[in-house]
């Protein structure tokens, strides 16, 4: 909502300059959007007086003037035919840039030095006239800035008005706020109309078919208007607050809407069939050509203003082209109504039309304002265009409005706001806001018709706090307690997991949850995805079921930026569509990591190999910590065959680990090997949370270490070899680690050599070499029997 500083002053006095006005209104709830100093364009233009004129010696049409500009007398060469001594003029001093873009410099014009320019209308951006210089009122004092002297130096202030405050969408509404803050009296504009001619009822008939949609409809007839351009002051004001000038009738109705906040519409009477106004629902198939030339298809839920046969306007939204005011219009019917907000909102949003009128009606107009607004417009029309106002407004009012009464408890108000206001102070604030207050216990507050947002005590408490000033309420730093925060294992473990992965060298990423369906198709989960009905882009229309494509995309981005290696993880939510309609998608926390490219941070003397399966597997093992983590070969559509594993933890499925398939890498422009794991974070948390953490006594007796190297078929799973070895000497085995793996010329084809470091210990007594040898032999024996292994 744009207002101008000077315009606002017509309705209420205040001693604030514009920055303070902005500050006060901001602190009362109008959010400052911006300011435009209309006077800034006249910077450098001052009031001057022409002391003398004499013809230029070298040019017939030029005059050499001596002009008093306050700071001295300047010689100015002027080409205007109307310049004369004694005139009060607008002087653009050297260094000025005029609104039209013209730059004024000291110059010599045909041999005579000229210090400035006497301005014509067009040069000041006030109109098109270039016939001569502007001659001003001689009361203006010489030397004062042009903008300040003429009142053109107004300031336009733009406020954002919250949707609960339709009353602030007008100059009067904002003046009411100033009144509430200062107590200075409000000046309501003149609405005294002189009526003449035949009564309205002889000319038109108004019927409301659906009074719930239109509780009130008031018409007034003005006859004999002369349509034409609006006077300059009116055009300037409308332009300042962002309204385009159309013609005087339309401009006046817009002016009254900006002034009082109530939208009006003017119909050409003779365009109304049967001279009737019927407020009714549109009929199926009806169409309406709007003022702006668009054709709208109406439906039976939309409210229209029709004549005897067809719609002439979309109620509260926009008028129709057929009955709009044009140059030859003489008799008009002015409409001022109150429409149900939801009805206007429905039509507005279905047709996608945004108008100033609709904004006001759908948020709730003042049901008590139609007659005043109508009279204000009628008065301005007769003043500016001539014409006569037919006697009495025709006020069809089937559903009279009632001012709401709300009880308000003073103690409750003070308790909620942490204030100590007495009843009188609260009453004063509410009365300045236009309420009537009965000083009973509780207070009984009758709210004004222009405040549809005030319906409950809480709303009134807000008003009291707002006008009293939230900044005057002291913040309280102590809490009443005791308050003990609950341990939240999910949250704790989220932080633990993230810290571990960061420590293990992975960077954390946070990616979009709304992803391209194509991504999910690539990993074969598209059919489980929940989809958006109105996605941000055509392709980005699904909720992610997995973090994998997102990580691949991040890898692509960073390799494109010449990263040597990408090691990243994300801990985030994934979604699975519910099988039943109307049920929310399932949301699960996933943890995924991707490692590709160089494993080391710095190239100096470091490991420059590329990350592989076992780098990422080791990292996952380190993350999970102690526990029964199992890897089994798996076939996964997103993985290279033979390079993927499914993972279980304590017998529960946890997730998978593998190398991204060539197809997937190609889809994400990745040229290097990419390894990924994705696990259910919920399953990991369950494991961590349930883990026993009791103490085991440290061993008292020394261990014996033995190495064992065997040759087995190449496809033998190492984990099974270890399990077999453990089972052969269950009480003595402390650990079995693989320390070497060999395949090549030294052994037969299709076989591999695996070397184990075995640590044996008896927890009860010192282990003897003979026992260790026996245990190792037993292991070898079992391996021979089960896997055909032989000692290497």
């Amino acid at each position: 909502m744009k207002i101008t500083y000077n315009w606002l002053k017509e309705y209420v006095d205040f001693a604030w300059d514009w920055p303070e006005l902005v500050e006060r209104l901001t602190m009362a709830g109008l959010e400052f959007e911006g300011v435009e100093d209309l006077g800034a364009r006249y910077e450098g233009v001052v009031i001057g007086r022409v002391d003398s004129c004499c013809p230029h010696e070298n040019a017939d049409r030029l005059t050499v003037c001596q002009v008093d500009v306050g700071t001295g007398v300047n010689t100015i060469v002027c080409g205007a035919p109307n310049v004369a001594a004694g005139q009060t003029v607008a002087v653009a001093l050297p260094g000025t840039t005029l609104p039209g873009g013209m730059q004024i410099k000291k110059s010599k014009i045909r041999g005579v030095a000229s210090e400035g320019m006497l301005c014509a209308e067009d040069e000041l951006g006030l109109g098109d006239n270039h016939d001569g210089i502007v001659v001003l009122d001689e009361d203006f004092s010489v030397g004062t800035p042009f903008a300040a002297a003429t009142g053109l130096g107004d300031v336009v202030i733009d406020f954002e008005v919250t949707p609960n405050r339709p009353d602030c969408l007008s100059l009067l509404g904002i003046a009411r706020e100033v009144h509430a803050l200062t107590g200075n009296p409000l000046r309501f504009p003149n609405v005294q109309v002189t009526e003449s001619g035949p009564a309205i009822a002889e000319d038109v008939r108004i019927d409301i078919e659906t009074p719930d949609d239109c509780p009130r409809y008031v018409g007034r007839i003005v006859r004999g208007v002369e349509v034409g351009p609006s006077p300059e002051w009116l055009q300037r004001r409308l332009q300042a607050v962002g309204q385009r000038s159309i013609n005087n009738i339309v401009d006046i109705s817009n002016y009254v809407m900006m002034e009082l906040g109530h939208p009006l519409h003017a119909f050409v009477i003779h365009a109304l069939d049967q001279r009737r106004i019927v407020v009714r629902r549109a009929r199926a198939g009806e169409t309406l050509e709007m003022l702006d030339g668009t054709q709208c298809r109406l439906d039976e839920e939309m409210l229209v203003i029709a004549d005897g046969t067809r719609p002439q306007a979309l109620a509260g939204v926009m008028g129709g082209a057929h009955s709009q005011v044009s140059a030859d219009t003489t008799d008009i019917l002015l409409e001022s109504a109150y429409f149900a907000p939801s009805r206007v909102r429905l039509a507005r949003s279905r047709l996608g039309i945004f108008t100033e009128a609709a904004t006001r009606f759908e948020r709730g107009a003042d049901w008590d304002a139609p007659v005043q607004a109508l009279d204000r417009a009628a008065l301005l029309i007769t003043k500016l265009t001539g014409g006569e106002v037919a006697p009495t407004p025709l006020d069809v009012y089937p559903r009279p409005g009632q001012r709401r009464q709300i009880p308000l408890c003073v103690d409750r108000t003070n308790q909620l706001l942490a204030t100590e206001l007495d009843s009188a102070a609260i009453v004063q604030i509410l009365e300045r806001l236009g309420c009537r207050v009965e000083s009973s216990r509780p207070l009984v507050v009758t709210v004004p018709s222009f405040r549809p947002d005030l319906t409950r005590p809480a709303d009134l408490i807000e008003e009291v706090g707002r006008i009293y000033g939230f900044d005057r309420i002291e913040g309280r730093q102590e809490a009443s307690g005791p308050w003990i925060t609950q341990h939240n294992p999910e949250l704790t473990f989220r932080q633990v997991a993230r810290q571990r992965l960061l420590g293990l060298g992975l960077d954390e990423v946070v990616s979009n949850t709304i992803v391209e369906s194509r991504w999910l198709e690539l990993v074969g989960t598209a059919d489980r995805a929940a989809r958006l009905a109105n996605p941000p882009t055509e392709t980005q229309d699904a909720l992610r079921t997995t973090l994998v494509p997102s990580l691949l995309d991040v890898a692509r981005r960073n390799f494109n930026q010449r990263a040597a290696g990408v090691a990243i993880f994300e801990l985030g939510k994934c979604f699975v569509a519910a099988a039943e309609k109307g049920v929310r998608p399932e949301e699960n926390w996933h943890l995924a990591a991707l490692w590709s490219g160089r494993v080391s941070a710095s190239p100096y003397q470091a490991d420059t190999r590329e990350a592989d399966f076992f780098d990422l597997k080791g990292l996952l093992e380190a993350l999970v910590g102690e526990g029964n983590l199992r890897f089994a070969p798996a076939d996964r559509p997103e993985c290279r065959s033979g390079h993927a594993a499914c993972i279980s933890l304590g017998g529960e499925p946890l997730g998978w680990l593998g190398q991204a398939s060539t197809d997937l890498c190609v889809a994400f422009d990745l040229e290097r090997q990419v390894h990924i794991f994705e696990i259910s974070f919920t399953a990991l948390v369950r494991h961590w949370h349930g883990r026993e953490r009791s103490f085991t006594a440290l061993p008292k007796f020394p261990p014996i270490e033995r190495d064992l190297a065997i040759v087995v078929r190449a496809d033998t799973a190492t984990a099974e070899l270890i399990a077999t070895m453990r089972d052969s000497a269950p009480h003595l085995v402390e650990s079995i680690e693989v320390f070497d793996l060999y395949q090549g010329d030294q052994i037969e084809a299709g076989h591999k050599s695996v070397a184990f470091a075995i640590r044996l210990r008896d927890r009860e007594q010192t282990l003897q070499d003979a026992q260790a040898d026996a245990a190792t032999s037993a292991m070898l024996k079992s391996l021979e029997v089960r896997f055909g292994a032989r000692l290497r």
Binding site: L417, E508, N558
Partner: protein, 336 residues
């Protein structure tokens, strides 16, 4: 003989000084001081000399031996130092750095906020991102044809439901499950159908706070927000509360923090010279919200607040483009 001893000493000392390495030095040690050395021979002859000559020659051979020994020690030390300095490290070479990951800025801020609010006795609650109309709008006093719905351009799901437009949904879910008093924060992702540009993204993160009990007042809200402001933006941070409108709070406010420019720069790009940065919204819980969750609005009062994480991070770190957060350029992530 006396002269010979002196000559011998000076020659040997000179030879030692000229030795280039440990091996040469060792040879020199054996030659002048060994059992068969000339100096020893002379020393053995001292006993056969007339008594008058013995002291002078004895002293001379002793001094010569001492001088040679000293020369040997000095040289040995010098050679060791030379050898060590030849193998000295260039300590300015780069260290072999293990990888250390960097937490995403939004996670860092999340952790910081959790820590701030746990310190003030707030529990951390979680709620779904795919929501229903009831929890996102209706229960928050925003019925279907409420103009405030225009403020939220919502993503709807095929088959019903929507992506939550704010974390206020968690207020409802917590209050539905928990009898008062309640003191929680919730952090998470929200969605609004915005055109993506430098200051808007359709996905963003919020923190929500809720405190409900008997006797909770606007002063409690102010105190909490002020405490958060000081911890997030520095001890001198002031907060101002401007009236605003949210359907689910009454009174509603927006709160501003004093700008980090401390009003020293008229053209400050963050506050535009006003000295205040708009942060987010807050207010006292609307009685209609209490009614929706079955709390008695006459008995309980409460406050709620929200705040956008990206906005705070952008202000604190001078980040110019909100798209950076979900883009995951590691050069961005590793800056914080």
């Amino acid at each position: 003989m006396l002269e010979e001893v002196r000559q011998l000493a000076s020659v040997v000392v000179a030879e030692i000084a000229a030795a280039q390495d440990d091996k040469a030095l060792e040879a020199l040690r054996v030659h002048p001081l060994g059992r068969k050395s000339r100096l020893r021979q002379i020393a053995r002859q001292i006993g056969h000399l007339p008594a008058a000559q013995r002291p002078a020659l004895g002293e001379a051979t002793g001094r010569a031996q001492q001088a040679i020994q000293q020369a040997l020690d000095d040289k040995a030390l010098a050679l060791r130092q030379m050898a060590e300095s030849a193998s000295a490290l260039d300590v300015t070479l780069p260290g072999r750095r293990p990888l250390l990951g960097c937490a995403h800025l939004l996670s860092q801020l999340t952790d910081e906020l959790i820590s701030i609010f746990q310190g003030m006795g707030f529990d951390v609650a979680d709620g779904p991102e795919a929501e229903d109309e009831y929890h996102n709008f209706d229960a928050l006093n925003t019925p279907a044809d409420h103009p405030a719905r225009d403020l939220h351009d919502t993503f709807y799901l095929e088959g019903g439901g929507l992506m939550r437009t704010h974390t206020s949904t968690v207020q409802i879910r917590v209050m539905e499950q928990t009898p008062p008093p309640v003191r929680i924060i919730s952090l998470g992702r929200c969605y609004r159908k915005e055109t993506v540009d430098a200051t808007h993204h359709f996905a963003f993160h919020q923190i929500e706070g809720l405190y409900v009990d008997r006797g909770v007042s606007f002063a409690d809200l102010k105190g909490t927000i002020e405490a958060m402001g000081r911890q997030l933006m520095g001890a001198e941070t002031l907060v101002r509360f401007r009236p605003h409108f949210f359907p689910f709070t009454e009174p509603s406010v927006e709160y501003d923090f004093t700008c980090i420019c401390k009003r020293q720069r008229a053209n400050c790009s963050i506050c535009k010279g006003t000295g205040w940065i708009e942060i987010a919204g807050a207010g006292m819980v609307d009685p209609a919200v209490f009614t929706a969750v079955g709390y008695d609005p006459d008995e309980y009062t409460g406050f709620a607040f929200g705040m956008g994480l990206e906005r705070i991070a952008m202000i604190r770190h001078g980040i110019d483009d909100v798209r950076r957060f979900l883009e995951n350029d590691l050069r961005f992530i590793r800056q914080f």
